[in-house]
């Protein structure tokens, strides 16, 4: 294999890793905070992309793209915030909350998917990337926009980490995640904090969705793939630390792009799922860290 091919595959793997990190962190944050798995996460990614696409249809160019990103993130944050009260809060005190949340988020996914189908139709769409140029990177010709995506994704995650660690607001979010009763005893409004968490998760999903939508075609059913990939990433990495799923995302991204090259498109997902089952068997707490619910 030529070096430039290798670099090209590696770079597309890293790019995928950045996107997966963005998606999976959202899923992981909800899991560690609310204690439930959000099966509507994939449709958040999809809906975020559609909202952005709609905006770029009316306002073209790089400026339109910026507005699309901001608007899509805002709308999705609000949607996530509201959905907490509709989907998870009603049975937070039920002992079967995990199972009930699975069904309610699955149903929400179905509603979002079908609403998008009604609103935008089944045909594939693509968000026009604001930057079209390519640059030469160690012999491989790579889109400039890919670097922007990677940079923005990592910057967003870094900002999120700083928000959670350094600001009082972020610290209260973590407090609510780690010990709900103690947080209530400090006078914190835990349901609101949980809703904010789901909002943040939806907002990061939307950002990932916009990037995916400017790289590939989007359709109302494309949420399933991001959901599965985030799932694999979260399992592989574990949720011991904020960074655990991020490392895992790059492992998955690179593994995916290399296996797609060597094994073919069909076998690459199978390999990933097999990897995930193997990790669950050998090290259920994930590759990067201990098994504990933290943030």
């Amino acid at each position: 294999m030529a070096f430039d091919t290798f670099m090209f595959i590696l770079m597309s793997g890293i790019l995928l890793g950045g996107l997966y990190a963005l998606m999976a962190t959202g899923l992981a944050v909800v899991w560690t905070t609310l204690g439930v798995f959000n099966f509507a996460h994939g449709t958040f990614v999809m809906l975020g992309a559609y909202i952005a696409w709609q905006v770029t249809q009316s306002v073209a160019g790089g400026f339109g793209f910026m507005i699309a990103v901001v608007l899509s993130i805002l709308v999705m944050f609000c949607l996530g915030f509201v959905l907490h009260f509709a989907l998870i809060k009603p049975f937070e005190r039920n002992q079967n909350v995990v199972l009930l949340a699975v069904i309610s988020t699955l149903a929400a996914a179905s509603i979002i998917e079908n609403s998008v189908l009604l609103g935008w139709g089944p045909r594939d769409k693509q968000i026009a990337p604001p930057i079209g140029s390519k640059i030469d990177f160690f012999g491989a010709s790579i889109n400039t926009f890919d670097f922007v995506i990677l940079g923005v994704a990592l910057l967003t995650l870094f900002a999120l980490a700083v928000f959670l660690r350094r600001t009082t607001m972020g610290r209260t979010l973590r407090a609510a995640a780690q010990n709900r009763e103690a947080a209530e005893l400090m006078g914190l409004n835990v349901p609101k904090l949980f809703a904010i968490t789901l909002g943040i998760s939806a907002a990061t999903a939307a950002l990932a969705g916009i990037f995916v939508g400017s790289l590939r075609f989007i359709s109302p059913t494309f949420g399933a793939d991001p959901l599965m990939k985030s799932l694999i990433v979260v399992i592989l990495g574990g949720v011991a630390r904020f960074t655990s799923p991020i490392y895992a995302a790059f492992v998955v991204g690179i593994a995916e792009s290399f296996s797609a090259y060597f094994l073919g498109l069909y076998w690459s997902p199978a390999l990933l799922f097999a990897m995930m089952i193997a990790v669950l068997l050998i090290k259920p707490e994930g590759l990067f860290g201990h098994r504990s619910k933290t943030l």
Partner: protein, 261 residues
């Protein structure tokens, strides 16, 4: 006679459908230090959690500084086992109202927030008391009360010893500028050395004028600190002992369990 700071009138509660405590009447004055003693599993913690607003009371009233904290009336029985009452029925007491009123509960065996540092916790702790004066002074005081914490300022709670965790919990409770502080088993599982250190700190808190309710299993610790000892058995107050006639461990055991043991 002045109005009591905290007053319970015929308070009943538990985890539906299991009733844990019944018809508890109690009043605590603004300058009083009250101890609770009783066997494990007889509802002391459930009572405190109810007062703190974590659990809905079934019946009776909780009055703090003359204000009623819980909703009027009796909690209606659930007709259906499957219907989601949380959706339509309002909570009968709100933890935030209790905290805002200045009634602060420090939980038992408190792991608090395992992945946060002492500094982070004490940063968010006064959130409930933003409107109250004296938070800055209290910060200074905490350093004096618990000098041990200063060494552990940036370690996570997970890595602290049981006594240190207890200190962080109490410090966080104090930063909420309590008008009444409720400590649930502060000496649980502590080494004798730490227990002494902790009881010294609690004594100093006493000196600052914050009234306390302490639940504990350690008789010496309790009797040396409180003005009034309340014996709690089978979900009701069975006896009150004033400061003058504090019993020792054996006498207390005898009062509690009588001839049955």
């Amino acid at each position: 006679m002045t109005e009591p700071l905290l007053e319970l009138r015929g308070l009943s509660g538990g985890y539906p459908p299991v009733s844990v405590f019944r018809d508890v009447d109690l009043s605590v004055n603004a300058d009083e230090y009250v101890g609770f003693f009783g066997p494990n599993g007889h509802g002391k913690t459930t009572l405190l959690k109810t007062i703190a607003g974590l659990i809905d009371p079934w019946d009776g009233g909780i009055y703090f500084a003359g204000k009623r904290l819980n909703a009027e009336g009796t909690m209606r029985a659930r007709v259906s086992h499957n219907f989601n009452y949380d959706l339509f029925r309002k909570r009968r007491i709100n933890t935030r109202d209790v905290v805002d009123a200045g009634l602060i509960y420090v939980m038992q065996g408190n792991l608090l927030f395992p992945e946060m540092t002492v500094e982070e916790i004490l940063d968010i702790a006064p959130r409930a008391a933003r409107s109250r004066p004296g938070v800055a002074e209290m910060r200074e005081q905490i350093h004096e009360l618990f000098p041990r914490l200063r060494e552990r300022w940036s370690s996570k709670i997970r890595y602290l010893s049981g006594g240190e965790r207890q200190m962080v919990s109490i410090a966080a409770g104090l930063l909420a500028m309590p008008r009444l502080l409720m400590l649930d088993e502060p000496t649980l599982g502590l080494s004798p050395k730490l227990r002494i250190e902790l009881s010294n700190a609690v004594r100093k808190i006493r000196e600052t004028g914050v009234p306390l309710i302490i639940v504990d299993q350690n008789v010496e610790f309790l009797t040396s600190l409180v003005d009034r000892l309340i014996l709690f058995d089978h979900g009701t107050i069975t006896r009150e002992i004033r400061a003058g006639d504090m019993p020792d461990h054996d006498q207390l055991m005898d009062m509690m369990f009588g001839g049955a043991h």
